[in-house]
Amino acid sequence: MASPESAVNGPTMTAGAASKSLRNAFGGVIAFIILVLIGVLAFSIRLFSVIKYESVIHEFDPYFNYRVTQFLSKNGIYDFWNWFDDRTWYPLGRVIGGTVYPGLTLTAGTIWKVVNSLNIPLSVETVCVFTAPIFSAFASWAAYLLTKEVKGPGAGLTAAALLAMVPSYISRSVAGSYDNEAVAIFALVFTFYLYIKTLNTGSLFYATLNALAYFYMVCSWGGYTFIINLIPMHVLLCIVTGRYSSRLYIAYAPLVVLGTLLASLVPVVGFNAVLTSEHFASFLVFIIIHVVALAYYIKGILSPKMFKVAVTLVVSVGLAVCCAVIAILIAVVASSPTKGWSGRSLTLLDPTYASKYIPIIASVSEHQPPTWPSYFMDINVLAFLVPAGIIACFMPLTDSSSFVILYIVTSVYFSGVMVRLMLVLAPAACILSGIALSEAFNVLTRSIKFQLPGIAGNPSIAVRMWRKENGSSTVVAPNDIPKTEEAAKEKPAKKNRKKEKENVEKKPTPSKTEKRLLVLPLEASVIAVLLLVLLGAFYVVHCVWAAAEAYSAPSIVLTSHSNDGGLHVFDDFREAYSWLSHNTDVDDKVASWWDYGYQTTAMANRTVLVDNNTWNNTHIATVGTAMSSPEKQAWEIFHSLDVKYVLVVFGGVVGYPSDDINKFLWMVRIGGGVFPHIKEPDYLRDGQYRIDAQATPTMLNCLMYKLSYFRFVETDGKGFDRVRRTEIGKKHFKLTHFEEVFTTHHWMVRIYKLKPQRNRIRGKTKKSKSSRSVSSKRDVRGKRNPWH
């Protein structure tokens, strides 16, 4: 746009054009510096836990990823791809190569390999801990690129700055949170950017890149189904609102074909890419877009009369064929019990599905719906800016802005279903808030600029810039400059009836937009700018506070502040795991609730029965039944599974609320879901869950109670449980089938060993058919316990 003007305007205007290109270059350099700073900000705000604690992997899931990465770095990619892990889900084992999303592990493994080949000696753990902050910097840059495609570089920089700091994303990508989302959010935003870029340019090159970025997303996270459903929804929206263009076809059709193929390459997805309902939307829209493309093509080559004839013919024939096809499709899909959808996807559509049918999914705390305060905690100020951003996207409505609107609407719905999906909302909220803030600053600074007296030394440049903002491409002739300068300074509400009339006739559109542009009063705009800056300051303060206090806990190490301000560290988990790794045989099996499975295999290096993957509900129910049964039955169950040690987490001494007694009801529910002799009301007194003297006998006799509270009275003499805030019911008892081998310093982890079978049983015959027939007579009236 600069060249035609400078060519026409002659030598007096080259100075203006030169300064303009200098200003553009200057702006480009500043934008680059800002992007580098945003990357540094995104990286450093996530380092609080490394500073406060140490460079350690957090939580539960990251330990599994860390163990897999260790294996990959030690054994290479072929062994990793074909790895059958026999140290977990004993005796079933787990096909790691086929059930893990390899993106994160392969990324970290590649970084480790590259860095080590450059002779920088970083350990695998260091690479794993810092992968997430690095990729969050990349995600901010991807958000810049995406928003630049939608609205412009100013909005892009704002969106990138917001995404670097948003607490929701920080919570899943702190240094040490080595989980799939660390890489997946970058892949998500980058895929969307490439899709929008292809949509805007219509280039097949970007379509290829888009498919490859989608492949990286499929490798990284199960949330890729969001992409493969959102993009077809957007294509449908564009077709329905009459925005079909051949660029849309180029953006969508190669993505579907290449994307489906690439998705089937990943072993976790495999043939699900063509067989499950989650992908059917993409195929349906694929067919629809071909029909629409054909219709537009025929419309282009026929005359309008002939086209009408064609339409009537096609409609009459095609409708019959369509109905037949749809009927067949519905019959095929309806024949499967869940209509082809997986349990987790059904939970998204019907939030009550999981609690009714699949207790395991309902028990994960991340799968609960979020509370209202969590929205404010997680996206803070952006919650107010998003509606403004949505409105800004409508002026003007382009393909890319309609995509962003669709993205925010769907992600708001899904974040309302599962708190874990607030993470998908975060980039959308940042993009829209960036657009809103950028537009607001545009209007306010423009108002200030044109009302400050003598602001622009060369008013013609100011006017030309203003016209450029209006999007007019008309040429400004030299002799028009003085007249348009006056026009610029006048209030746009007044009509110009003076010498500018010829300008108005020649260029009607610029004058119309001049009239429509609002110029706010100077004081109001200055105050508004200051208030917006203040809003941003509040956001930054909240984000830094959230990163430092709320989301940097590694949860494997706990701290508390004592009364005199000292810091007390609870390192019980690692203490227990290192005891296990030093004092037990390599092949010993450890039973615990599934939460601790990943940590046990990664840190203690022992075989476990169940872990956080929760793929086998029956096996978890077996462990849950064992924990809910009396000692003898529990011993039988564990002995049949070759278990040597049982691990329980107990928070009663220090007040740690996430211990196994608090999770116990879930064990009962999950166990009762598979073994009907475990009934939840047996453990509740009047519908209330208690462990004090009023607890039911079933509760007081179950293994979990006994293992948690064995010798608990010795701590304070009264047995006062700090978490439940009561004294326990049964205080003095002995364990008959288990023996305590280790309790950590703060009693948080307790390890028990199964006592071996007695060689001689006094007074009774051997365990044989006779005792079984005796017990079976007794059990006839109640439900059969399959463990007898």
């Binding site: 219509g202 097949l204 490859l212 660029r247 180029i250 290449l258 089937s264 025929i298 002939m306």
Partner: protein, 116 residues
């Protein structure tokens, strides 16, 4: 009476379709033939699968999707090369063809990997 007019209209419709299509340049017609060939190959594969069974499902999938993918990419090439498309006026046909080749390379690399 209505039927004969609809028959006449249909005939006129097909006539105009044919004449309008005959007016398209030769290079576009070549691409169209290629698209038709690819779709025909895909249909033959589907019929074969219906007869023989889909046991190595990945082979079937890769075969069909390679044909459909080539067809789709050829249609994209046709869109970009077509001189009547004003949106792609400033895209040189060589650039469009280079993009087409690149995308086909990626597609067939994936196909060869997936075929098993």
């Amino acid at each position: 009476m209505g039927r004969s007019s609809t028959v006449k209209e249909t005939q006129a419709l097909f006539q105009s379709l044919r004449s309008a299509y005959a007016a398209t340049p030769n290079n576009l017609k070549i691409i169209d033939v290629f698209v038709g060939f690819a779709v025909l190959t895909a249909i033959i594969q589907v019929v074969y699968m219906a007869v023989v069974g889909s046991f190595p499902f990945n082979s079937f999938l890769s075969g069909v999707l390679s044909c459909i993918g080539t067809a789709v990419l050829a249609v994209c090439l046709r869109i970009q090369v077509n001189k009547d498309n004003k949106e792609f006026k400033d895209v040189a046909p060589e650039r469009a063809f280079a993009d087409f080749i690149l995308c086909n390379l990626v597609l067939h690399l994936v196909i060869m990997n997936f075929m098993g």
